[in-house]
Symmetry: C2
Subunit: 409 residues, 2 copies
């Protein structure tokens, strides 16, 4: 198939440890297939493209692109920007397509999550309706792992690997003293529990771990929670409680201490902080004073130092596949992973129309959650284990030695 013009790649939404690996896949594949057309990067996602923040990557020494494999965060910048419908905001669309025309972009690869796929979908619809000849291909990316259709999302495996390792380390840490010790570990995940649920895997390696897991897919009930904790402490004085940042009660109210129902503790004191801090104070006031809290925070989305090799290579493949689809003439789709088998672990990379994925959310399925809603099943462990495997062979402190500011070279 003949190429028709230049290519534009951009990144969107929250960063991950491997979002740059997908950009690498796009760049590598596009260069492999031709040296006639140019490859551009949109700086700060669609928002930058709108303002013609577009960088010609031929200015970069090609050897620099390898460094993308070791760098977290979005090397070309990102945005959190949801395009309105074209009828409500045509100016924006005009600016974007003006930029596409100016740079003769025939292939636009957008690496992002749910909202970014919505943007890609709207742009492809606008292109079709206005007879712009451009392929718009989405490449999934999110540590939240909440895109539908795809078995999993690039970025999730590395975040899960960081959390599984950290959960094991925290478990070992609380086992150190000859006293009761409870650790509450708060992961990201406001609406889905994929990240917190991944930590259930430590039971495979540390069979006697005493762990409770709470995710948004379960209804949170404080009395039941306190019963769970008390019961767990009867078996073992050490306990690891893992929670997603978003838990809701039976009325659908978020359990967090910043405002509303859950903003005061048992003594009426005002509470600050999220779910982790709230659960910590519940345990402290009702069960046991020896309770610490670790909010895993921003590092879980950027801990490239512990990136999963599987995740990095899959992210690259997703980028490469997107280029192949674009060149084949696909106009409007997202690449996705289909799990062909689990042992040996094998995936294929397929395509799905953008309309099928945007604005939908994939939750942790019920058979991944144990019966008393205090943890995960073997199915969840089997699902996540292959995704966290492998580490990059690289120089020591590869993250540091490989840093390049692509936005400003």
């Amino acid at each position: 198939m003949e190429l028709k013009g230049n290519c534009l790649v951009a990144q969107s939404g929250g960063p991950t440890a491997v979002i740059n690996s997908s950009a690498y896949g796009v760049i590598k594949k596009f260069y492999e297939l031709n040296d006639k057309y140019k490859i551009y990067a949109g700086i700060y996602g669609i928002q930058g493209i709108m303002n013609e923040k577009i960088k010609d990557l031929s200015c970069c020494d090609r050897k620099y692109f390898e460094n993308l494999l070791y760098m977290p965060s979005a090397a070309f910048g990102s945005c959190r920007y949801k395009l309105k419908d074209a009828k409500d905001s045509e100016e924006e669309y005009k600016k974007i397509f003006k930029a596409f025309n100016k740079y003769d972009i025939k292939y636009f690869f957008y690496i992002g999550g749910n909202d970014s796929m919505d943007t890609a979908f709207k742009l492809s619809k606008y292109a079709e309706e206005n007879n712009f000849d451009i392929s718009i291909i989405g490449i999934p990316k999110t540590i939240d792992n909440d895109l539908v259709v795809t078995d999993h999302c690039p970025g999730y495996g590395s975040a899960a690997k960081y959390l599984v390792n950290s959960a094991a380390e925290l478990w070992m840490d609380i086992n150190v003293y000859d006293s009761s010790s409870i650790m509450v570990m708060e992961t990201m995940g406001r609406d889905t529990g994929w990240l917190a649920a991944s930590t259930g895997l430590i039971k495979k390696f540390i069979p006697d771990v005493n762990q409770l897991i709470y995710i948004p897919e379960m209804v949170f009930d404080e009395e039941k929670f306190l019963r769970n904790v008390s019961q767990a402490l009867k078996v073992n004085r050490k306990l690891l409680v893992v929670t997603s940042e978003g838990l809701k009660d039976k009325n659908g109210d978020y359990i967090n201490t910043d405002s509303g129902l859950y903003s005061r503790d048992a003594f009426g004191h005002k509470q600050l902080g999220g779910v982790g801090r709230y659960l910590q104070s519940c345990i402290k006031n009702n069960v046991d004073k020896n309770v610490k809290m670790t909010e895993m925070g921003v590092p879980q989305r950027c801990a490239a130092h512990l990136a999963s090799k599987t995740d990095v290579y899959e992210a690259i493949s997703a980028g490469e596949k997107a280029v192949e689809l674009g060149i084949k003439g696909e106009k409007d789709c997202m690449v996705y992973f289909k799990r062909e088998s689990n042992s040996p672990y094998k995936i294929s990379i397929e395509k799905v129309s953008l309309k099928e994925v945007c604005n939908k959310v994939k939750h942790v399925p019920i058979n991944y959650i144990n019966e008393d809603e205090t943890g995960v099943t073997k199915e969840m462990m089997d699902y996540v284990e292959p995704l966290i495997k492998g580490k990059l062979e690289a120089v020591d402190n590869s993250l540091l030695y490989n840093y390049i500011d692509f936005k400003s070279i």
Copy 2:
């Protein structure tokens, strides 16, 4: 030199990523030198020994000991227990020496920090005064790096490596959006700034990093802090503020929001949390709303997944050297590291009497802090860089695959 009896090794104080490597060094060396006498582990430090929680390690398959190199936290348990003077608490001393006698312990290796060296010193004095024939050798360990005499402490290099990598990752993360973005990163260190100061090393790899560092060795002044932040943001809208958990104002009051002077924000609202949260709210209320906070928390003392190979091997060597000294007849000393040269990096391992090290604190020296007290000098960077080098060659997710509960086998 002939061995005189059995050996006891125990761990004390807060865990580190490599405290088990020092235990490994002791065990390996002792087994190399003899197979006549036994090696015991004191479970939960001196507190466990007092209650005869003593485990004969000949019950363990020797191949298991290699796993100690990949495991954080104290495999044999730990305690935070400061022995009183013998005259005030002779019962405790009697219990400890009764256990020593019962198990024919002629060599006691205590791996720990400041307080643990005080315990070792008191025990050795008691032994001398009461004619007990026992060698008591301290092996330094602390992520805080605050023991005097030694160039650095085993455990610090790995914690620093985790923090340096995390600081670089957080810097990349806040650079992702086309807007101002400030990250406050809180490290451990209540009285010394070694951990926070280590993050200054990222400037070597990311020369345009916009970073401010605050440590207990500087007097904290809120107005100056806000001036520093405003000024830094004029240069670059992205800013990384690293702070030790212990900062004090000119009157010596801790800057934290749990109580006292700093417990209310500019609007009189009650604050919870530590220094990081306080600085975040200072910036939010006075300079810029786009400010996040990451409390590095417990993972910094147990992140074995990113252990420094240098640190692991030095920790082993410290354990081996302790055994050599004990067998040579040394009765009362701590092993320490002397930096012979920095390029190439080379240390020797020496001994110092316990009296010289216990109850003293080593602060970050003034020439490691820059003139306007907002960061570190090249001297600090040169000091820390060799300590974080190298990674262990091991299986993937080595931490998980190598877990063994030594306390219960």
